[in-house]
């Protein structure tokens, strides 16, 4: 089934919620694996989100303007002996979409389209 343009699917909502949680915890920017762990906890899942599912959702959220990302300085990663990292942060549009989702859930409606992005 083809999804409606702009509509958020559950994993995308969970990612936005995770990014919001982490921001409240003082982490404005987080990488994919950190998000995957928080998403797992929020969803009470046994496993981390699959690579393909996670990064496809992150790409779409960024395309919709709900997340923004930046690549870290490769030298910083090299200094720590690890691959370079992509950091994501929740945008104002993302916060608005999340607020809309929460409001809709409170009202018992279905998840809204991310039209604000």
């Amino acid at each position: 089934m083809r999804r409606k343009a702009g509509a958020l699917i559950p994993i995308e909502v969970s990612i936005l919620e995770a990014a919001g949680e982490l921001r409240r915890a003082g982490l404005a920017e987080v990488h994919g694996y950190e998000l995957a762990k928080v998403v797992r906890d929020l969803r009470h899942a046994r496993r981390l989100t699959a690579y393909g599912t996670l990064y496809k959702a992150l790409a779409r959220l960024e395309r919709e303007g709900l997340l923004a990302s930046r690549w870290e300085d490769p030298h910083a990663a090299a200094d720590e002996g690890r691959p370079r990292r992509r950091f994501y942060r929740l945008t104002l549009e993302g916060e608005a979409a999340l607020a809309e989702v929460r409001e809709a859930e409170r009202d018992g409606r279905t998840r809204p389209a991310a039209t604000s992005a």
Partner: protein, 273 residues
């Protein structure tokens, strides 16, 4: 199976489904998954369930994500196929030099192989044509040896170890031929064939160029000279010359395709935000 093997499966899969994408997009996806794998492997805050739990988790994340990976890859078709602006080419002197060596070597091999196929070794003694064949064969072998070494050197940081080592063997084979050591005619084509397949994996070469070269190189190396390595005669020599002609022409095509220097590794940070 340990976690390292699961990681290997993930890497192979990512390498496979990102093949053919624009280099920057492909690098970003690979790096992102690499960081995820690294983070998971080094995450001390996770109870994990031991190494067995970790390898199962990695494998599950791979398998369950395959449909999304394929969907993502399909979404990129537009990106891959959209008319792209002409790439900023940076034909360094070194890249041009390698391409020139490949072209010179390819032409030279085509030149020596045709009269030899027709007239046999006797052609090498016929004047005035004999004056050209011998130096052309030496020059061509030298140029192909240098081109092979150059391609290894230019990609030393990123090429597969086996392909790089085979490329070095091939380059050595070309130089041996320059010194009239017959074993070079086996070492050069086998080594360069492995190298080109390695470059194909790096998206430096088109599949058509790499596979044609590998086929011609393998045919040449397996030609009768491999059995009678000194001086084959008759049909064996004709087969050898045809193999050398095909091999030379594939070098010519490869040199032509590489002449822009676009395939040279670029500074990763320069093109990224």
């Amino acid at each position: 199976m340990d976690a390292a093997r699961s990681v290997g499966w993930v890497r192979r899969w990512v390498g496979l489904y990102t093949r053919g994408l624009p280099a920057g997009l492909r690098r970003d996806r690979i790096d992102e998954i690499e960081d995820d794998l690294w983070s998971q492997l080094h995450d001390k805050s996770e109870p994990g369930g031991g190494r067995d739990g970790l390898r199962g988790e990695i494998l599950a994340r791979l398998v369950f994500g395959i449909p999304a990976d394929l969907a993502w890859r399909l979404e990129q078709r537009g990106v891959s196929r959209a008319p792209r602006p002409a790439p900023e080419r940076s034909p360094t002197m070194f890249a041009r030099f390698i391409a020139a060596m490949a072209i010179v070597g390819g032409v030279a091999w085509a030149i020596w192989s045709v009269p030899t196929a027709i007239g046999g070794w006797a052609a090498w003694g016929m004047q005035p044509i004999g004056y050209f064949i011998y130096p052309t064969a030496l020059l061509g072998s030298f140029a192909l040896g240098i081109a092979t070494f150059g391609l290894v050197f230019a990609n030393i940081d990123r090429i597969n170890t086996v392909a790089g080592a085979m490329g070095a063997v091939g380059g050595g084979g070309g130089l041996l031929l320059t010194l009239s050591v017959p074993a070079g005619i086996v070492l050069l084509p086998i080594g360069s064939a492995a190298l080109m397949l390695g470059l194909l994996r790096l998206d430096c070469l088109s599949g058509r160029h790499a596979w044609l070269h590998a086929a011609a190189g393998t045919a040449l190396a397996l030609s009768p000279l491999a059995v009678n390595i000194s001086y084959p005669q008759g049909t064996e020599l004709t087969l050898l010359c045809l193999g050398a002609l095909a091999y030379g022409l594939t070098w010519l095509a490869i040199g032509w395709s590489l002449r822009s220097g676009e395939w040279m590794p670029q500074e990763p940070a320069a093109s990224r935000p």
